[in-house]
Amino acid sequence: MKRRIAIAAVLALASAIGLAAAPPAHKRLANGLEVFAVENHAVPLATVCLVFRGAASAQTPETAGLFHLYEHMLFDGNEKYPTQAAFMAALKKMGVTGWNGGTGTEYINYYVTLPSERLAEGLDFWSWAVKKPVFEPEKLKREKEVVINEIRGYHADPEEIAQNALESRLFPEHPWRKNIDGPESVVAGATIRQLEAMRDGFYIPSNAALLVGGDVKASEVFALAEKYYGDWPSAASPVFGEPPHGAFPKGVALVYPDDNYYGGVASAGFRWRGPDVLRQAKDTYASDILLFLLSSPVGRFKTALMDAGLGLYDPEYIGFGYPTARDGGNYQFAAFLLLGPDASDILERTEALREAVDAEFGLIAKDPAAYFGEAELTKAKTKLIDQNLLSEEVASLFVTGALTFWWSVAGADYYFDYEKDCQAVSWADISSLVERYFIGAGSASMVRLRADAYAASPLAAESAAELGYSEIGPDNAFWWQL
């Protein structure tokens, strides 16, 4: 299950990405395209979403950032709608209320929400974009400028800097598979030939899913899918995310002094290499149950850390996550530590926190039922199902969010069996999981604090040297800077 930790003002609790309680109807067309229909008749609207696997996880140093550029180019014209103006006019004609495209680390999606009575038009609309895109030099030139405007913002964003600094060091063999944007130089140098290769290799039905949700009937969705996408030529599914990322290098410990960081607190984060969903599927179910076992701000895990005397800010600002991933899965822990005027001991306290977390995992591995209480396993499973119920309330969000994610990262079979497989997780599975992924595995760490607090505490820099922490910032965070 997808979880992420946001070290932001309202950080802490890992956000849940749910599954529908009543499963969507599902069909695979002869050309390999998977079709999902989610019926939700709350409002007379339908959302049409096309998803493709790949994105950052399929990148090479030469194509880093180009899935994102391609995503933009798909709005720039195709054989039916030759210009962006024509594309936008068509959206307007259909009465579209929301539209967008997105590129993530493992998927790209495109979607519109439109009146349900115009579902056929929406399906036809995207079919032209994905089947018959037209790439023209002038449009590519202009779109590069748009994308560069966009990614400059990310490259200056402290959250991105922190995330990239860690991941470029934790996945040293293929760091470009974790960064969506790529360097400006690759985007600026992109060619139409590269985009065509991407189209032929990834924008094919066997690497795609059509997700339709809202005021629709499944039978109608399937019939229309056949009509508009049945002639999409099939091709062999691409191979990507291979070879797998290895174990994390030992001793990755980073400190990020940031001029704009919060005053009065620092954040400490740890990462452990986790399961890849297609390689260690069973471990991903246990991981998700573990998340819910650890989630309560008044549960034993967070209470123990708060009571450890390390000056943690608040149990609601302690987060533990496992973003389900097919490429480079990892566990993520983060907490805020109170910071006085003197930050000298912040790295020692971070190391003490790491030991405290490790100690708790040691206790969990030894006897999780005793650690959490026998009844907590059932409660954790109930929480997981409840989050799924909540996630399906709004059809457009479910289709473009949860369903997009699950299909692209884990696939239809995993998705449909997910609750059953999570229900089967036992205390022994939890113990085994923690034993294999946490005990003695070593974790990477990242400390963030205000630059002036760090500079005013020379002892902090001394302890950084002693404890093996390296300073990072916007000039040495991204893989192309290393």
């Binding site: 103006a85 006019a89 009465g95 967008n100 495209g101 748009v146 405007n149 701000p297 149990p315």
Partner: protein, 500 residues
């Protein structure tokens, strides 16, 4: 959903204008009700059903039940079985505008402290219960009102409702809870200061709302939060948590009779009375437009641009026409600034829906904020000529078409957006609350379809000339020094829509 997903356009901006929630021109509506059956938040009375309503409105009207608690608190229940989610909100009249810059943020702070403890529930019990049931409990404020809400699944509602009620009726107001929430509020404010787009908004608000009640921002400011105390929070609670200031909105699969009994028992003892709270006055901005440049060194190579102007409130006849006009403008900005010049990632033009309303023209992520004003002006000139983006790109050489040619399509999008803004029970509750607060009738949002349908091209042209062209926009350009260096005040002084 995924912080690491790159979107083609910033969705919140691209869709903003279409999410403008309420239509206008319900002449003669007052905030004081004399409505159907005496329900105090049904100011339009029985006539509401006799106005040639859309089918969507007719169906929705049947799903309401209303009643008044013995102490005078009105309750609106909208039955919805489309999901298992139940939402209930206590709406408290008076948002940050009823405060002052010196005490800004007190409403939000008080509501968050309430959610941490009550006579029956300590912090641990609350957090444990919320975690176990995947539920959320908490408060928020905007300029005009405050909201204390519970979102949960139907199977947990009977366990959670007593918690929601007790934290309203008998909050603990413990010093430790206050200290923690104050600290959280300070961190949240710092978070806004760290983000270049949020910082652009903070800077714009500081300038645009100077001297107006909206200068008191819902999240507070560094000085107001530093001055906040538990006593001030309790004093706010004592003043505002009076029956005369409150109403309840519940959306979900409710049994209204059962809910009424629970609310009567739990909230019926809240003291009557309440302060008379006037609506915030319209924002007035005499003099030329202005440009403030805000250096944000971290934003290397990219800048942010935003201009605000006074706009009609939702109960003004111009509101819908201006909203549609701004939507047309937004499309033009996308075409000119992004598509033609590649000068921005996401442009926007929108009208909001506050009591003292305002509109915004903005560019999110541009490497050329100085040059970009000329591109904005180019798009504005097309709009001022009575044209928008054509539905058929072959319609003309430049891709533009007269507004009457595209109006039905734009209006259709607005109608669909009203549906989209009612896709969750929490969203429906927000629409009902805003309707009741702004117009005195909780059903008003259901008239959106009719109001949009009535807008003409002439209305749109008139509204744009009256409120946008010639307006004194308060502009903020934020970015690294070299990025904003070429943004010149003289280029931003006028916003006439005249061609250059």
């Amino acid at each position: 959903m995924n912080a690491r997903t790159r979107r083609y356009a910033l969705a919140a901006l691209a869709a903003a204008v279409l999410l403008a929630s309420l239509a206008s021109s319900c002449a003669g509506l007052g905030a004081a009700g004399k409505g159907s059956g005496g329900f105090p938040l049904a100011a339009m009375g029985d006539s509401f059903g006799g106005r040639g309503l859309s089918d969507f409105a007719k169906v929705n009207l049947k799903s309401f039940e209303t009643f008044v608690l013995s102490n005078g608190i009105p309750v609106i229940v909208k039955k919805s079985d489309s999901s298992r989610v139940r939402h209930i909100s206590l709406v408290i009249r008076g948002g940050s505008a009823a405060s002052s810059p010196e005490t800004a943020g007190i409403e939000s702070l008080a509501l968050k402290v309430m959610a941490r403890g009550s006579a029956l529930y300590g912090y641990e019990a609350i957090r444990g219960l919320l975690d176990e049931t995947s539920s959320s409990l908490g408060g928020t404020s905007d300029f005009d009102a405050s909201y204390y809400s519970l979102n949960t699944l139907d199977k947990y509602f009977d366990r959670l409702l007593p918690l929601w009620i007790d934290t309203i009726a008998r909050p603990a107001f413990a010093q430790a809870d206050f200290d923690k929430e104050l600290s959280n509020a300070i961190l949240a404010l710092q978070s806004k200061e760290q983000d270049p787009w949020s910082k652009t908004g903070l800077s714009a608000n500081e300038l645009f709302f100077a001297g107006h009640p909206y200068a008191a921002s819902p999240e507070g400011n560094a000085a107001s939060l530093a001055a906040a105390s538990l006593e001030s929070v309790e004093a706010w609670y004592g003043r505002r948590l009076r029956a005369g200031n409150l109403f309840v909105v519940a959306v979900g699969g409710y049994d209204a009779a059962s809910l009424r009994a629970s609310l009567e028992k739990g909230l019926g003892a809240i003291p009557a009375g309440g302060e008379k709270l006037a609506k915030a006055p319209a924002i007035a901005h005499p003099g030329p437009g202005s440009l403030a440049k805000v250096e944000f060194p971290q934003s290397k190579g990219v800048g942010y641009l935003r201009g605000d102007f006074p706009a009609p409130a939702i109960d003004d006849p111009d509101y819908v026409a201006l909203s549609i006009g701004m939507s047309i403008f937004s499309d033009l900005l996308f075409h000119v600034v992004r598509d033609k010049y590649g000068a921005v990632y996401s442009p926007m033009a929108t009208v909001r829906s506050f009591d003292a309303n305002y509109g915004t023209v903005a560019l999110y992520k541009t490497s050329v904020p100085g040059k970009a004003k000329a591109y904005i002006d180019e798009a504005a000139a097309v709009l001022a000529s009575g044209r928008g983006m054509a539905l058929d790109p072959e319609y003309s050489a430049d891709g533009y078409a007269p507004i009457p040619e595209i109006l039905d399509s734009i209006k259709g999008q607005f109608v669909n957006s009203t549906y989209e803004s009612q896709a969750s029970n929490a969203a429906i509750a927000a629409q009902i609350a805003r309707s009741a607060l702004s117009t005195g009738d909780y059903r008003y949002y259901l008239l959106m379809v009719d109001r949009i349908g009535a807008a003409t091209s002439e209305d749109i042209g008139d509204a744009l000339r009256k409120h946008l062209f010639g307006a004194k926009l308060t502009w903020v350009a934020l970015g690294a020094a070299d990025v904003i260096a070429d943004a010149r005040s003289e280029d931003f002084a006028a916003f006439s829509g005249a061609s250059k």
